[in-house]
């Protein structure tokens, strides 16, 4: 019976029919194209228009990029090689890359020093940025500023050591006396640091920098993208704590502190950065005798730091204002004093809210460092606008140089932006 059943009844299936592939219009790239690019008449028109635009852009830039000349010694030679064809003259980058990155006066055989400083910067900054890393790495972060100063400026190693000892003495005094009275600890620390610096500075023999292990490089010889990075990193890292202090000071109950902070923030925010830079380079030169001026780099760092600290203070004040009053009252009801309440309850929340704003200021600040070219410091843009475009070989090369500058800045700024987004995800605790 069963035998007959299986053989004689033709339409009974003895297995599962394999699934047929979906129709050609409902699968793969075709489906994607239809759903995303050509779903209706308007979208189709837009798609075609966009394709046209992309084609026009690529047809202009690709030959320019691919025909690029990399090996000549001047713009005139580039034109000879190209024979009237479209093509970029990237030779300016291969010939002047060192000037673009390090400025034109940094000694060529010492380039390893800023390179090493940059690598060590990544090591030093890692435990600050990624708090999952072991906390012991922070010790290196504390030493790094002095190490980087010694690497980049060279000269005697005694100067950064004395500077480090001054900070160490200040920290020690604060640790010892700060517990009983904040004021004694704070001002005692300042006095101790200055005492160490004065005595130590007097002990460094004259001419110690002449035969130092690392050849001394004056600030005026720094330049290129290195200068932008140095200004950016220094000013952001200095202005963040200063901005927090100013934001807290502005909310303080003590009138003197409050008004100092308000006046500082409003004054600095009300003045264009370029004005501050002119003050740094031009006005301050009048106040010092010619031989004893404060280093121009330091003057510029102070001005940019002040500027960005005022902005960061306002960003953080926004974060503080966003916290419900209950958080402050909760901290008080737990019996925490002011520093504890700020450190444990208020600031962690306020800073988290402020991250996008702070990053915004940091990115803007980094790009603003190119403004120093107007006070004749040769940062990346200053090198391009000044020496390179003024040389007889490269006068007239604009796109290649400015494109290179844009690329360098984009890489750094995009990196900062990506980090901040990671940080926001990492700190997200509100289960939205």
């Amino acid at each position: 019976m069963s035998d007959q059943k299986t053989n004689s009844i033709a339409f009974v299936a003895d297995g599962t029919i394999p699934p047929s592939p979906p129709p050609a219009g409902e699968t793969g790239p075709v489906k994607w194209l239809r759903e995303n690019l050509f779903s209706n008449a308007v979208n189709s028109a837009l798609t075609i228009a966009a394709l046209l635009v992309i084609y026009v852009i690529l047809s202009k830039t690709l030959p320019w990029l691919l025909n690029g000349v990399w090996t000549t010694n001047s713009l005139a030679e580039c034109r000879e090689v190209l024979q009237g064809k479209t093509g970029a003259c990237f030779s300016v980058l291969t010939e002047r890359w060192n000037q673009l990155l390090y400025g034109f006066k940094y000694p060529g055989d010492q380039y390893w020093r800023p390179n090493l400083a940059l690598v060590l910067l990544l090591v030093a900054i890692a435990p600050v940025l990624f708090f999952d890393l072991p906390r012991k790495l922070l010790a290196f972060t504390a030493i790094y500023p002095f190490l980087a100063f010694w690497l980049i400026w060279g000269g005697t190693i005694l100067a950064p050591i004395v500077a480090l000892l001054g900070f160490a003495a200040g920290a020690f005094v604060f640790q010892t006396y700060g517990k009983s009275s904040f004021a004694i600890g704070f001002f005692g620390a300042i006095v101790a640091a200055f005492a160490v610096w004065l005595i130590g500075g007097a002990l460094i023999p004259d001419g110690a920098s002449d035969n130092a292990m690392l050849q001394a490089v004056p600030s005026r010889d720094l330049g290129g993208f290195m200068l932008n990075l140095m200004l950016g990193v220094t000013c952001v890292s200095l202005s963040l704590p200063l901005g927090i202090a100013l934001a807290l000071g502005r909310q303080s109950d003590m009138p003197l502190i409050k008004w100092i902070c308000v006046v500082f923030i409003e004054f600095v925010r009300g003045v264009p950065l370029i004005t501050l830079l002119f003050v740094a380079s031009v006005m301050l030169a009048y106040f010092f005798p010619p031989e004893s001026t404060v280093d121009l780099f330091l003057r510029v760092v102070i001005m940019i730091t002040m500027f960005s600290a005022a902005y960061i203070a306002e960003v953080i004040r926004g974060g503080l204002a966003a916290l419900p009053k209950g958080q402050y009252e909760a901290a008080d009801s737990l019996g925490l004093d002011y520093p504890q309440a700020m450190r444990l309850i208020i600031l962690p929340q306020a800073l988290k809210i402020s991250i996008p704003g702070i990053v915004n200021v940091a990115v803007g600040l980094f790009k603003d460092t190119t403004l120093v070219s107007v006070i004749s410091m040769f940062d990346l843009v200053g090198m391009i606008r000044g020496p390179i475009l003024a040389s007889t070989e490269w006068n007239g090369v604009y796109w290649e140089l400015l494109g290179f500058a844009a690329l360098l800045f984009f890489v750094v700024c995009y990196g900062i932006s990506q980090y901040s987004q990671w940080l926001e995800r990492r700190l997200a605790t509100d289960h939205r």
């Binding site: 031009v282 009048y286 106040f287 005798p289 107007v374 004749s376 000044g386 020496p387 040389s391 007889t392």
Partner: protein
């Protein structure tokens, strides 16, 4: 409060400038280095080369002064200045002299309290046209479109020139030299006008410089020269006569090539006085007897410097024009070395 601060700063500036200007020559000798202000970069006039060494027409003046004072043309600290920072850098004592294609004007000389020690380049506003236009004089430019940088004196000079010649033009305002270059090449204007040296250096960057002509008319005066602070006449004399020595050397036929034999003594007493074989000119300046010899030997005479940096065989390709010796129809005229 801001006003009093500025007044205070200015009073302080006066004091500082006064203090700094006491004995610049001695300061430079003690320091062993000349602080010379230059531009941040201008084709042919001052720019660092691929090795980071400064080169150019203005740079040569700095080096010549360093050679005259210190005997070493490399003992110069070049301080790059922008159009905005140059005068304060000089007034504050940050630099000892400024050689930065700066136009000698009344207000800069008198009001800003500087002393122009001479003129090393006579510039003036000129016109550039494509050769295919077939124009040989600016007076034929009736009805032309002119690319002109806004907010400059060149704009006013242009209006004056066209009005006094009773011809019309249509201005195409541009912001920077780079923009003007693009507009002109794209054919947005028939004529580009700016300083003649700027026109020449702009033309030098073109794909095909030979198809553009600079018209012979020069419609304004732009005498460029090195300057020092008011009130330090000894130092001003050193810079002035170093420049004059370079100009006189060309007139007298002294070059960096033949200076060795000339310095040993010649039949021409002026050459002997200039190069220190006779007389005590160096001593009067407070320098060594061979001051001018050092300056000329290191940089060459005026003509050599001109030819090397901006002359007709250089990429900038400027003709001598007004900057020829007075004996050849130019304006260069050094007072006698006596």
């Amino acid at each position: 409060m801001k006003k009093t601060m500025i007044l205070g700063a200015m009073a302080f500036a006066g004091l500082a400038a006064g203090a700094a200007s006491a004995g610049t020559l001695d300061d430079v000798k003690a320091r062993g280095k000349l602080n010379c202000g230059v531009t941040t970069g201008l084709v042919g006039f001052a720019a660092p080369n691929a090795n980071g060494e400064w080169e150019g027409f203005d740079v040569a003046v700095c080096r010549a002064v360093a050679a005259a004072v210190l005997g070493d043309s490399t003992a110069v600290e070049f301080v790059p200045t922008t159009g905005k920072t140059r005068f304060t850098a000089l007034a504050s004592g940050e630099i000892d002299m400024l050689a930065r294609n700066t136009t000698w004007t009344f207000s800069r000389d008198v009001d800003l309290k500087f002393e122009f020690v001479g003129i090393n380049y006579y510039d003036g506003q000129g016109f550039m046209v494509p050769k295919e236009l077939g124009v040989s004089s600016a007076k034929e430019l009736d009805g032309a479109t002119v690319c002109i940088q806004t907010g400059t004196t060149t704009e006013l000079n242009l209006a004056d020139f066209f009005r006094s010649n009773n011809i019309s033009y249509e201005p195409v305002p541009v912001e920077t030299n780079a923009e003007a270059q693009q507009q002109y090449l794209a054919g947005a204007c028939d004529v580009y006008t700016t300083d003649a040296s700027g026109l020449a250096s702009t033309r030098a960057t073109f794909d095909d410089p030979a198809s553009h002509a600079i018209l012979p008319e020069i419609i304004s005066k732009e005498p460029l020269g090195p300057l020092v602070r008011h009130g330090d006449h000894e130092w001003g004399d050193v810079v002035r006569w170093t420049l004059n020595a370079m100009i006189a050397a060309e007139e007298l036929g002294v070059t960096s090539a033949n200076i060795g034999e000339m310095a040993a003594g010649t039949d021409n007493p002026e050459i002997n006085r200039l190069l220190g074989a006779e007389g005590t000119l160096g001593e009067m300046l407070g320098l060594s007897a061979d001051w001018a010899k050092n300056a000329i030997a290191s940089q060459g005479n005026y003509g050599e410097v001109f030819a090397k940096n901006i002359g007709e065989d250089s990429p900038v390709g400027l003709a001598r024009g007004l900057n020829a010796q007075w004996t050849e129809g130019g304006l260069l005229y050094s007072p006698p070395f006596r």
